[in-house]
Subunit: 324 residues, 2 copies
DNA sequence: ATGAAAGCGCTAACAA
DNA sequence: TTGTTAGCGCTTTCAT
């Protein structure tokens, strides 16, 4: 491994100059810069991250704590985070908390030691816990808001309300919502927004669940959809898929007997039969933005939050209810 | 942040002794060790990883390159890797290559610089590429074998053959296999093993695909299952789910008209209706073992490979064919 | 069994 | 603009 000293020698300058030429090009004469860059190239030089970290106090690594990877929400999230990190020449340190607040705390601390900061997707831990973490190292929350901590939020509450609006416009009066994970911050927001919207329209919303949003709970929940309900919105695409399966098994046609819509678009919902109306949620962007915010935060910027909006994608699974 | 010097002072010993007490307890008198440990505890001391890495040349980080996270195979894989790393007080640096050999190469190099070694799940890159990577830094391959490079392999070929054996015993003579990702090493192995087994029994195997194994391609492929076929095995649980959906939509009952089995058990297949017979694949273990092997490799051990076996789980989706 | 001292590769004052 | 020098926090000879 070539070291900075090698590069400096090869270029006929001091280590300091070589360092500057490589990390702060504008502090060095153009000619020198060129000689150094050339030398570095020739030697295949890559600065030793550990050494740099030791002097600067910055590791160039961002921690990412997610509750699970078994939920399709996290694939694009992690991808976005990694891309943003790559862009900034940083690396992603991943930990899976398995929805265990204790593990989450421990892992975050472990990561915090090693990373410049951590992006947390913490749907279950307590506010106090999160505040405490944020005091120890820079933290950016995803899909959750805790006081004034910097967060990247997917406004699925507004999206869900918009979706409900669409269903109401179609003429539905009896709606159902298959609620998401018990205790989920995102779920509560959606529920509140939908309830309000439905009430304002003088219609009725039945809340089913909450259930852990998986394919099988979707199937199971299908049996609980009241017969007078003509439109169902489900927490995410997984439950929705199950719901579709279950509804059909019970002999209820979609959308003739009941309209179905999904709270996210994470499992190709455009290819099912019928194609499912869904909320398009910019999850990859959320991951990317979270990392960018975190990096800004580490660079001394003030923490700021971002709200990302969703888009309603209408497909064949929603239609006007049959006249009673 | 408390430093080693602080601990040493607090314990009334030299930095060297403090270091030894913490990292090589047996090189130090029991009493001293205790005083140091106590002092470290009191001060909440955690060795600075960068400093340690600088002196030892080991970062305590393992790279993990996966092609995607959108496939349920990778959730347990990553989880296992992370757990094993945690166990060894190491961290996981994750990169997603998106099935792009170029990106895979670039990311691996980037990781290799920073990590002590990398675990690669590289279903698509060329053998030569992988050999080249392995020369630059310790590498452990997952679910792929390249020459004598250390690898952790899931023996799904044997598993698939066993599954076929089960179907043959039930009396099926016309089988179909929905093949996995084009160019997949694992898929080719399974195909060969199954073909051999079927031929030996004098039965026939139709290969459908290969297709990218998703829910929708499963649905689409259902239409291509020949009518005389009485048993279908699909590459993974995702396609299988789609297949089930598609078969039913086409009016073919499972298992009465056609038996269905899955090449893995990564999406709760026990809760569908009917519950699906599947190969149980120890993916989490594969991730864990890969990291352990890598760490051993970094510690100077010889590279060795491991084969993990699968288990056939019989459920309601497979039955004897109806008499023609 | 312990301590003193050197040094890993880099950056950052401070001088020139 | 460039060079000199002094560490960052740790491990590790080499003495003792």
């Amino acid at each position: 491994m070539a070291t900075l000293a090698d590069v400096a020698r090869e270029a006929g300058v001091s280590k300091a100059t070589a360092s500057r030429a490589l990390t702060r090009p504008d502090m060095v004469a153009a000619a020198t810069r060129e000689r150094v860059t050339a030398a570095a190239g020739r030697l295949g030089f890559h600065a030793n991250r550990s050494a740099r970290a030791l002097t600067t106090g910055r590791t160039g690594m961002v921690g990412l704590v997610v509750p699970t990877l078994a939920n399709p929400f996290f694939a694009p999230l992690v991808l976005g985070a990694q891309r943003a990190a790559e862009e900034a020449d940083a690396h992603v340190l991943l930990s899976v908390s398995e929805y265990d607040p204790g593990r989450e705390a421990a892992l975050t601390d472990r990561l915090g030691e090693q990373a410049d900061g951590v992006v947390m997707v913490a749907p279950v831990g307590s506010d106090a816990e999160l505040r405490e973490r944020a005091r120890r190292s820079p933290v950016v929350l995803v899909d959750r808001r805790v006081g004034r901590l910097p967060a990247v939020v997917l406004d699925t509450a507004a999206g869900a309300a918009e979706m409900v609006g669409h269903l109401l416009e179609l003429g539905h009066r009896r709606l159902a919502y298959v609620a998401g994970p018990p205790g989920s911050w995102a779920d509560e927001g959606r529920r509140a927004a939908m309830t309000e919207r439905v009430a304002a329209a003088g219609a009725r919303l039945t809340v089913l669940g909450p259930v852990t949003p998986t394919f099988d709970t979707g199937i199971a929940t299908a049996a609980e959809v009241p017969h007078e309900v003509t439109a169902v919105l489900a927490f995410n695409s997984l439950v929705t898929l199950g719901l579709l399966h279950g509804l059909r098994a019970a002999g209820r046609r979609v959308p003739e007997d009941v309209s179905v819509a999904a709270g996210d678009d994470l499992t190709a919902l455009g290819a099912t039969d019928p194609a499912v109306t869904a909320l398009e949620v910019p999850v990859e962007e959320a991951g990317a933005v979270a990392v960018q915010r975190l990096l800004e935060l580490c660079a001394g910027a003030a923490g700021r939050s971002t709200t990302l909006t969703t888009r309603t994608v209408l497909r064949a699974s929603t239609a006007a209810p049959r006249r009673a």
